[in-house]
């Protein structure tokens, strides 16, 4: 038997090398934490390569905003076939570049909003929320928070995607009253950080009572660390939604493979990896449901989201208000 095994092995190896030489390469640009060893990237790469007869290559580029900047920088010459990791604050600007092509995915999304964007397919979503340690009385809304002595640490909307999310959250909930809310919140804000990592680090070190994060953050602590002391505060104005999407580039040299990837993205193999690697809700709930522990999370009754096409203009207005209120 042995020689046959050996021969089979050699044959398989030869086939593998030839296959490698000819396999099409699908290049997916995404944000850095997606491709990290601890993110969804490695699992998804393996799962897709099992079915696609292709080589899936992820390229990480900082965060979601850096991702769009990179695509703009590269323009139509880009090697990227798919861009994965923009959110609804960025899709209008991304569409405006004219670099993205319509998709053909048609599934029933479990996203708490009507999805009809012709260019972008959602792959996961989450609600922004303030995360705190058991033992404090969580505020019920922004006014409550502003009136309390609780301290918070947030991210700068000029350098961070969640920071921008908070800006839109307050704007969506309070409209013209947003500047007043920010002025009242000023004395609760310990500091503003460059990105989510710094804020969450400061919160875990005890520098603030709460940090801006996601309603799903406690799931990490519960599932990976068996620590049930982290909670997300439920706000009665509703919670701002972040929907993360992917889109196919018009100039892709692998348009069919890119379409297949987008189809794969809303399938179980991809979606079931999301909850415990990206710590977000899957855009299409896998048939086995959500992992145990997700049922303990708060589920906001109202989902707030500023329509993608209004986001750029509102962003500039809200940013000026934010700067003015906090620079005083």
């Amino acid at each position: 038997m042995k020689p046959i095994h050996l021969a089979a092995g050699v044959l398989a190896a030869t086939v593998a090398t030839t296959a490698q030489a000819q396999t099409p390469v699908l290049t997916v640009y995404t944000y850095d934490s997606f491709v990290s060893d601890w993110g969804p990237g490695p699992v998804i790469e393996k799962a897709f390569e099992e079915v696609c007869a292709c080589d899936l290559q992820f390229v990480g580029t900082g965060d979601g905003a850096a991702l769009l900047a990179r695509i703009k920088l590269e323009g139509a010459r880009s090697d990227a076939d798919v861009v994965l990791g923009l959110d609804t604050n960025l899709t209008a600007a991304a569409t405006e570049t004219g670099l993205f092509a319509p998709h053909s995915v048609d599934v029933a999304y479990d996203v708490p909003m009507e999805w009809s964007d012709p260019n972008f397919v959602p792959f996961d979503w989450g609600y922004f929320a303030f995360v705190y340690n058991d033992g404090i009385e969580p505020p019920a809304n922004f006014r409550d928070l502003a009136d309390s002595d609780l301290t918070i640490v947030i991210q700068d909307p000029r350098s961070s995607t969640p920071g921008l999310g908070l800006l839109m959250w307050v704007k969506a909930a309070y409209g013209d009253e947003a500047p007043m809310i920010w002025a009242d919140l000023a004395d609760n804000i310990v500091t503003v950080t460059k990105g989510w990592t710094e804020s969450y680090g400061l919160f875990l070190e005890g520098e603030a009572d709460m940090a801006l994060s996601y309603t799903t953050s406690p799931a990490y602590h519960l599932i990976a660390e068996e620590d049930a002391t982290k909670k997300a505060a439920a706000f009665d104005e509703g919670h701002y939604l972040q929907v993360e999407v992917a889109g196919k580039l018009a100039a892709s040299d692998q348009p069919e493979l890119a379409d297949r990837f987008l189809e794969f993205m809303v399938s179980d193999a991809f979606q079931s990896a999301i909850p415990t690697t990206n710590w977000m809700y899957p855009a299409v709930t896998p048939k086995d449901g959500l992992p145990e522990g997700f049922d303990t999370l708060i589920t906001p009754e109202t989902a707030l989201l500023i329509p993608a096409e209004d986001a750029p203009a509102l962003r500039d207005e809200a940013l000026q208000e934010w700067l003015q209120a906090l620079s005083r």
Partner: protein, 519 residues
């Protein structure tokens, strides 16, 4: 009279300086070339300019003002562990920003050790967020560097002078006026300029400890322009302003100050007969103790929090550590190839203004250099395949101002001490470098190489712009761990980073000091 009796060829120095300026100008040019539409600077930008200048000025002045007495105390005292302490002075500087900030907050933060102590006596907790916090962090980063630079100046005073002063019965005060003051005048302006430029480029530290958007620096505005607004024109203008400020500071500090050099001694070891006894001895001890505590306690907290995580680091961290070591070694080579000829050129000129070219390397926003070179490389090669070499090059550029600040005074001393003899012997070209200059500045080379290696090891820099799955460096991998909520493993990775960075620094520095002719 010629500027120097030493026949160091200027071609190498001019070539290196031109290359540095060209690398930065090409990046800036590429960004400006891709810019579209109109751009203008708003009131928020000017507020950022004002804040940036003000905090950088204060940080530089405070760091140097504190470093002078600490360096003086270190220069005239010998105690067990002195060498280790001096080497450890390099450590805060090489920490990745987020690690250093967490270390500082563990001590001075809201729930930090200082506030816990105050709480025991019923004193309300202090908040460090604001300008005070920014300065605290910048002094934490830069006090050690300033101390090393000034100490190095102090140690350049030939032993014979102290011997003579002792024979003449001069007291500490007179020794200060006659021997030490001229040296201070020589090293302080350069140290001020260097720290000013470092703090100009501060972003995450200033924002996090500054407590909000009031603490917006130009670097944050550049970041926003590049990544959030994709307004390349604005990014180019802001980068140019940052370069202008750094250049202005460098010219002020380096051009106007006379570059006096003492005639050299015989290189015997320094003994300080003038060091005061009694109460002043305790003052020196207290100064050294306070400075060491201020620097080492936050560092100790970083080490302590890293211990639980380091045993179980994921494999990807070690792969990244290997990339970092590689990048670090490469950037030391690039650095020395640029810095030595430049230092040779500057060391034999009467004015030190050329050093300003080196300072630009740090003042140029890494994001600007990264993006500029991305635009230039992109048509010809995949930027991710060049991720590590580009990172090494940018890191070498960043370390250049430090290397020059360290090498130039040493170079001047070699010129002063060996210049005439070498000229009389007709030494020039590679023989001059190999037999006279390199052995003469070996301690400085070791210190500069060590600092560059460590700086490169800890720098996140441009790698995040170029990296793919297989080309992560250790700091990037540490950020990724934090981004995946894995704070314990991230703390372990930070400890590994400290060990590697400090190990590299120690090896180079010890190599330099072992061969030191004097000290």
């Amino acid at each position: 009279m010629a500027a120097s009796p030493l026949q160091i060829s200027r071609a190498g120095g001019i070539g290196a300086a031109t290359l540095v300026v060209a690398l930065i100008a090409a990046a800036l040019g590429a960004v400006a070339w891709r810019a579209e539409g109109e751009f203008s600077l708003g009131p928020a930008d000017w507020a950022a300019v004002r804040f940036t200048l003000w905090q950088a000025f204060l940080s530089a002045v405070i760091s140097v003002a504190l470093a002078v007495p600490v360096a003086r105390a270190l220069a005239r005292r010998r105690f067990v562990g002195r060498n280790v302490l001096i080497a450890l002075l390099g450590a805060p500087f090489i920490l990745p920003v987020i690690v250093a900030v967490l270390g500082i907050l563990a001590v001075f933060g809201r729930g930090g050790w200082v506030n816990q102590l105050l709480g025991l006596w019923g004193i309300a907790p202090l908040s460090i967020y604001g300008l005070g916090g920014v300065l605290l962090a910048h002094v934490f980063f830069n006090l050690p560097l300033a101390t090393r630079l000034i100490l190095q100046g102090w140690q350049s005073i030939p032993a014979e002078r102290f011997r003579l002063a002792a024979q003449l019965g001069l007291g500490p005060r007179t020794v200060f006026q006659v021997l030490e003051w001229p040296v201070l005048i020589r090293v302080v302006p350069g140290a001020l300029a260097l720290i000013f430029v470092i703090c100009l480029a501060s972003f995450a530290v200033a924002l996090t400890l500054g407590g909000g958007p009031r603490a917006t620096t130009i670097e944050l505005a550049i970041y926003q322009a590049f990544l959030f607004d994709f307004d390349l024109g604005r990014a180019a203008v802001l980068s140019l302003m940052q370069l202008g400020m750094a250049g202005g500071a460098a010219v002020l500090a380096l051009w106007l100050v006379p570059q006096v050099s003492l005639t050299g001694g015989m290189g015997r070891s320094v003994r300080r007969w003038d060091a005061p006894k009694g109460a002043l001895r305790w003052l020196d001890a207290a100064l050294i103790g306070l400075a060491a505590g201020f620097l080492l306690v936050p560092l100790a907290s970083v080490v302590l929090s890293g211990l639980p995580g380091i045993a179980a680091l994921p494999a990807g961290v070690f792969r990244a550590a290997w990339s970092s070591v590689w990048v670090s070694g490469l950037s030391v080579c690039v650095l020395l190839a640029l810095a030595l000829p430049m230092a040779g050129w500057i060391g034999t000129s009467r004015h030190g203004g050329i050093e300003a070219a080196g300072l630009l390397g740090f003042a140029a926003s890494p994001l600007m250099i990264g993006t500029g070179w991305f635009i230039l490389i992109y048509p010809f090669a995949a930027p991710s395949s060049l991720a590590l070499p580009v990172t090494a090059l940018v890191n070498a550029l960043m370390a250049l101002p430090f290397a020059l600040r360290i090498l130039v005074p040493g170079m001047r001393d070699v010129v002063a001490a060996q210049g005439r003899l070498s000229a009389a012997l007709g030494l020039r070209g590679w023989r001059l470098w190999l037999w006279v200059i390199l052995p003469g500045v070996r301690p400085q080379i070791g210190f500069a190489a060590g600092l560059a290696a460590a700086l490169s090891m800890g720098d996140l820099g441009v790698i995040a712009l170029f990296a793919d799955q297989d080309h992560a460096t250790l700091p990037l991998q540490m950020y990724r761990l934090m981004g995946a909520y894995q704070m314990e493993a991230a703390a372990g990775a930070a400890l590994l980073l400290i060990i590697l960075a400090f190990g590299a620094f120690w090896m180079c520095d010890a190599w330099g000091r072992r061969g030191a002719v004097s000290e």
